[in-house]
Symmetry: C2
Subunit: 189 residues, 2 copies
């Protein structure tokens, strides 16, 4: 009797393979053929799970963003005041996390012209924002201050992530962390 | 006697064509064939000027970034204290500037795996930073404060640019401008 393939497990393997291909060759190399080859399966079998390059990036982005979000939530569960820890979950502080940022960069480039990816990006950021505003409110911020602080923290994370991906010599982990703390102090007083 | 084709003029036309193709179809559609078709020339003729997709994005990025930088410099020449005006030169405040940001997004995705594009990105940001630090020093900032402020302003611009490209309903021009002012106040007191 054939083993029932677990959908999440299979998509996780595909996401990891997309990440490796992207890391080696950039978004151009993320093709159905190359990802199938990375997985050691046929393109036909891969097509059973995802239909095209955009879907490959979509699967990889979901896995990456979910992992980052889980790290951020874990930081806030350990210490609800550790906003810096939560923001750092999204920063390219080491090679592994620089690879995560490359998934975002590849995804954004395809999201320019793909309505499904664009909606995922927009809705995911809106979810981030709603959760962050709720958390800041629970810590005592006013609604208006919480909204502004959430915007500021999210754009700071993206801005550092882009810069640090391409210039890790300037954007050392300590510089990244220092700027996050500066922005948190500025946003929340 | 054949007209001597001005190199800068031709590269400007190519950059504009890449921008239009990118805007319509995303980075996937930026191919030698599609850009040649957009220009109404043969792929062979286009190859005389640029050799591949990475070079097309490189030419487009240079044109976009140079135009943005020129706008930022003009704002500071008009009023050396108008840092907000300089930062706004890089924000997607309208459709034209959202198209500029898409060039950056396409460029970043290819720069992941292209050493030439990666060096352009890194060196351009280093140049931005040197100029901005020099300007802030001239306005009276200490070296350390000027360096931190320059990092903060640059990451804020990138962070807003990414978010606003994908969610212009949330990131209205007034919200973008307000956040820039908040960060300038925080960075420079």
């Amino acid at each position: 009797m054939p083993r029932v393939v677990d959908r999440d497990e299979r998509l996780g393997e595909i996401a990891a393979a997309v990440g490796r291909v992207l890391e080696r060759g950039g978004v151009e190399q993320v093709t159905m053929r190359n990802v199938a080859s990375e997985l050691g399966c046929t393109t036909g079998l891969l097509t059973h799970w995802v239909t095209d390059r955009a879907a490959l990036l979509h699967v990889a982005l979901r896995a990456t963003a979910d992992a980052q979000t889980a790290r951020a939530m874990a930081a806030l569960v350990r210490d609800p005041h550790d906003l810096a820890g939560a923001v750092e979950a999204f920063l390219p502080l080491d090679e592994v996390r620089r690879a995560e940022q490359k998934v975002w960069l590849g995804f954004w480039a395809l999201a320019i012209s793909d309505a499904t990816l664009r909606a995922e990006q927009r809705d995911r950021y809106r979810d981030f924002r709603v959760h962050l505003v709720g958390h800041l409110r629970a810590l005592g911020s006013t609604p208006s201050s919480a909204r502004d602080a959430a915007d500021l923290l999210m754009t700071t994370a993206d801005g550092i992530a882009v810069s640090a991906t391409f210039d890790p010599d300037h954007w050392t982990p300590s510089r990244q962390r220092r700027q996050v703390r500066t922005v948190i102090d500025a946003a929340l007083g």
